[in-house]
């Protein structure tokens, strides 16, 4: 294989993985903007999306498209239940308490998934009927990658419309910008927190479903995805959705190029190295402010 086609091959892989990291990071952002906390159960939403979809389509023989929406619905509901059950009842909790609650939720979901699905690794059939890779010279593009990019783009567009053109979306942004003012104009801030959990669970589930055909899924997959998604969110600038997408592709590409040209044993370390460097050099991330907002608080 020539160097160029090798490079192209790694780029294809990197873009697909990067899209997923970007979506996980989006999930982090939505909750971070609404509440100021990092939801460490974000990776579990991704895992659950994949797992529920597997059970529905291969176990219960639900058609793909229907299964997709039901799985997203179920995981959204789980996200909402976590907020109502564990976050909502607390009166004036500290950010640290909330983050620890999300750790507990993550462990609970992971344990639950292990009970239900066991420790095996599952897969899903690819979305297109033709699984033949599209070849570019010696490199080949898996059709699922196109699905991943397409569905990611579609989710981004839906999110952008929601946040910019609907009153509820604007209210969520208002909450992120200024909670006090939001409650003074009549926005129910606690309801927006619920909505943010539901929304980021949904986005996580979508990511989990579209990645399963290429990356497989097991009960333990969420943690690593959450770590990499978190690194992505930080690189993009916590809270910035455009940043998340750009950073997703950067980390995805670095990971796949690093694994290809250096050694695949460093694959998982790359995202963490990036995280460390961002924190050392530019803690605000690519699109983030340089901590100015934090000082204001």
């Amino acid at each position: 294989m020539s160097f160029f086609s090798q490079l192209l091959q790694y780029v294809f892989t990197g873009v697909a993985v990067g899209a997923i990291y970007g979506m996980v990071a989006l999930g982090f952002n939505i909750i971070y903007n609404a509440t100021g906390i990092i939801n460490l159960a974000q990776g579990e939403f991704v895992m659950l999306g994949g797992m529920v979809m597997i059970s529905l389509t291969t176990g219960l023989k639900v058609p793909m498209i229907l299964g997709f929406f039901i799985s997203v619905g179920i995981v959204t509901l789980i996200g909402a239940v976590i907020e109502r059950g564990a976050i909502h009842p607390l009166k004036n909790p500290s950010v640290m308490t909330l983050i620890i609650i999300t750790v507990a939720a993550s462990i609970l979901l992971k344990g639950g998934a292990m009970f239900i699905w066991g420790k095996q690794t599952y897969t899903l059939p690819a979305f297109s009927s033709s699984t033949k890779p599209i070849s570019f010279g010696e490199a080949s593009l898996n059709p699922q990658t196109i699905w991943i990019l397409g569905i990611m783009a579609a989710s981004m567009i839906v999110l952008a419309i929601f946040f910019n053109f609907t009153m509820t979306g604007k209210a969520m942004r208002a909450c992120a910008a200024n909670k006090l003012a939001a409650s003074l104009v009549g926005v129910n801030v606690k309801l927006m927190v619920l909505l943010s959990f539901a929304l980021s669970a949904a986005i996580g589930a979508v990511a989990g479903i579209i990645i399963t055909p290429v990356a497989l899924m097991d009960y333990d997959r969420g943690t690593m995805l959450a770590i990499k998604g978190f690194a992505t969110a930080v690189l993009g600038g916590l809270g910035s959705n455009i940043g998340a997408v750009i950073a997703g592709f950067i980390i995805g590409l670095m990971e796949s190029l690093g694994a290809g040209f250096i050694s695949s044993s460093y694959k998982d370390a790359i995202a963490l190295l990036v995280l460390l460097f961002v924190l050392f050099i530019r803690p605000g991330g690519i699109m983030g402010t340089t901590g100015e907002e934090k000082f204001k608080k």
Binding site: M167, K170, A171, R173, A174, A177, N178, L180, A181, A182, S183, L184, V185, G186, V187, N188
Partner: protein
């Protein structure tokens, strides 16, 4: 219209308001003046539901609204323009205004909200020019106007204004106070909290003076402006006379 009886508010163990009673009648401008930390903002935050640990009674047209959450208070017709403006800075001027009407937003009321927007733009023509601009990029005076305009979008019976003149140039303060008078003349009752006591009492019908969580004086604006002790303590004028 608004009646407050023996209101006590707490920050944890600290009692910030020690039994406030006051009343505001429809069509009035009532000023609340006092030094830093006297409890002015605490009172406004207690009325608008931001501070929930409180005892006493707040009645709006006879209805007990003491323990309502902020979003209910807005619905009942009390709108607070908070200290320091508190805009949604990353959002556009237009979005800020629309969010002001959030609690009554529905497709059916769209034309009504558009009418209210027109009215607000009439009072603040500069906001119409800037409606697509991001709120955080406005000048201080424009931001204060936007904060007031956003407060008006909920169609309040009473508008609570917390230090609207803070940090603004004298000329702009003049504009803001002229607008406050105009709003009263168009039928909005106003409760004005100010450190700029002179200016506030000049436009107000009545005033209250608050000191360490208690109302220490109340009366018609002219009375307060004529009261030696108030003049000495809050207006700075005539300071020397007392020294003699």
């Amino acid at each position: 219209m608004l009646k407050i009886r023996n209101l006590r508010s707490f920050y944890g163990n600290l009692q910030a308001l020690k039994g406030i009673s006051l009343h505001i009648e429809a069509g009035e401008i009532v000023a609340l003046i006092g030094a830093n930390g006297a409890g002015k903002s605490t009172l406004l935050n207690s009325i608008s539901g931001v501070i929930s640990s409180k005892r006493g009674q707040i009645l709006l047209d006879g209805k007990d609204i003491t323990y309502f959450p902020p979003q209910r208070i807005v619905k009942e017709g009390i709108s607070l323009v908070p200290e320091g403006r508190q805009l949604f800075s990353p959002l556009s001027v237009m979005d800020n205004l629309l969010l002001g009407a959030y609690q009554r937003f529905s497709i059916k009321k769209k034309t009504q909200i558009e009418r209210d927007l027109e009215r607000v733009f009439q009072i603040f023509p500069i906001l119409k020019e800037r409606r697509k601009q991001v709120a955080g990029t406005l000048s201080g005076g424009e931001q204060q106007m936007l904060a007031i305009a956003r407060g008006l979008m909920s169609k309040p019976k009473i508008l609570l204004l917390d230090e609207p003149s803070m940090g603004l140039a004298p000329k702009i303060v003049q504009d803001i106070f002229r607008i406050i008078l105009r709003l009263r003349d168009e039928g909005t009752t106003i409760f004005l909290v100010e450190q700029n006591a002179q200016k506030a009492l000049e436009i107000a019908d009545r005033g209250y003076v608050i000191e360490t969580g208690r109302i220490v004086f109340e009366g018609k604006s002219e009375e307060l402006l004529g009261n030696r002790e108030i003049v000495r303590a809050y207006l700075g004028r005539g300071y020397r006379k007392v020294w003699e």
